[in-house]
């Protein structure tokens, strides 16, 4: 099968200026004042690999670098150092729920997101009804998304994401907002992807979900790899060290 995702020595830090320097006035008033930065090391020397066909979980407390990691895998952020290799087509969606233009109707958002993600007109036409059907939002297709609930947005986003051809699917906290019926529907697609040999990298806080689906889990704390192993082991470690403190 081979590896689907290979990450070695990956580091990423963000410089957060203490005072946003976005106004001309400050250049004129304090032209020589040195700007001070808060350095936030989101990821530090992260190394791991994901086998093709694996369901890979990433777990960690808030601010541990999970989303940054996924964004780098998705090609949205640029790593400071380290190497990232993704083999196969990457699903374009990362954080479900948002990423839409809420002034547009569901219809236009599906067309816009699908096209930006690389679907041709014919592919989009073929998939359009399937997207609506899976999301169960047919009645709302001509409504603007600003009138949608967060659960409806997640449903729409997930339905679009899985209709875009991929080998590697990146999911960030997808199921936090959806209702139970829709969650079960998503779980069914997880099983289907597993059967098809797709690779899934999955970020969640839900340990039960991790144990139910993941083959292996990665525990991130403060941007570093704390543990990598079976969901049960990593989950126990997470409960012990992170949740209890």
């Amino acid at each position: 099968m081979g590896t689907a995702v290979e990450v070695s020595g990956l580091s990423k830090s963000f410089r957060i200026p203490h005072e946003q320097h976005t106004f001309f006035k400050e250049y004129f008033v304090h032209p020589f004042r040195r700007r001070t930065y808060e350095r936030n090391d989101a990821l530090r020397n992260v190394t791991f690999s994901v086998e093709a066909g694996e369901f890979f979980g990433v777990i960690g407390p808030n601010g541990s670098g999970k989303s940054t990691l996924l964004r780098i895998l998705a090609g949205i952020y640029v790593p400071d150092s380290g190497v990232v290799h993704v083999r196969g087509l990457l699903s374009p969606f990362i954080e479900l729920g948002v990423g839409f233009n809420i002034e547009l109707t569901a219809h236009d958002n599906i067309r816009m997101n699908g096209t930006l993600a690389g679907l041709t007109k014919r592919q989009l036409d073929e998939r359009f009804d399937r997207i609506l059907e899976f999301s169960e939002l047919e009645r709302f297709v001509d409504q603007k998304l600003k009138n949608f609930s967060s659960g409806m947005l997640v449903r729409l986003a997930y339905s679009i994401a899985i209709q875009i051809p991929f080998d590697v699917l990146l999911l960030d906290e997808v199921l936090a907002v959806g209702d139970e019926a829709f969650q079960e529907k998503c779980f069914a697609t997880f099983e289907q992807f597993k059967a098809e040999g797709k690779t899934i990298v999955f970020v969640s806080h839900d340990l039960e979900l991790m144990e139910r689906f993941c083959d292996r889990c990665l525990l991130l704390t403060t941007g570093q790899v704390q543990a990598l192993g079976s969901p049960r082991e990593v989950g126990d470690l997470y409960r012990e060290h992170v949740l209890v403190g």
Binding site: F14, T22, F23, F24, R71, I72, A74, G75, I76, Y77, V78, P79, D80, S81, G82, V83, V84, H85, V86, R87, G88, L89, L90, P92, F93, I94, E95, V98, G99, F100, N101, E103, L104, D108, R111, M112, N113, T115, L116, A117, G118, L119, T120, K121, P165, D167
Partner: protein, 280 residues
Amino acid sequence: MSATSYPSTAPRPTSGIAYYLRVLRVVGAIDFKIKYSDAALGYVWSVVKPLAYFGVLWLVFAYLLRTANQTEDFTLFLLIGILLFLFFVDAVSAMLPSIVEGGATLRRLAFPPIMVPLSASVAIAMTFCVNLSVFAIFAAIQGVEPRIEWLLVVVLLAELYLFTVGLGLLLSALYVRLRDVSQVWELATQLLFFASAIFYPIGILPDWAQKVAFLNPFVQVMQDMRHVVLGGASGPNDLTAADVFAGAGGRLIPISVAALVLVSALVYFRREGRYFAERL
């Protein structure tokens, strides 16, 4: 050392000319639609705006001040200026905030960020095409006969579009870092409206001011357009870059300015574009 690579047997679906054209068509059409979809009069507004400008300026200069006799064809002369100016300003103004406003999509979907401002420019180009029908009606009323030289209009519009896109890309990228850009641009459009010989003949400016004005590719295109469409009937007001910068090569000066703006915008985008998602 840093590298991100996505080796794949299938071609990346988010690159290539076909992908770019598809996105521009779909997203441009959606942008165009939402611009007017909430307005009761819809697309009519896209025509009302240039006509309102035209009406006021015509009233003041052709009727109240009676300066219109300096230019024959003042009606079409004015209309050409207004239509081109509104396209130029509206397109740059739509592109300028587009990256910042499109942040939600850029932070979640990996695609070339240049598509966001480019799509915004397409919607304005579509408005411009609608407005050309206004010009056609006025030209027909004035009994202007189409001539073979009109084919040059296509070349001139292409030059204006490339310059407009270059400026729009540059400002939209700078706006990510420096929010003052929108204030500066707003002021600049006001000044340009009065400084660009839209509603008066450029010949009444002193020589040095003409030279400055013709550094702007917009002014060069507008004057060339008037020259081509009205066939030089406007006499002394029919100045082009070639007249002002001594010689037929004079156009090269504003054309180089346009090329410089476009190239620096593309270079800046290539360098900075991949960091937009984390700066928004």
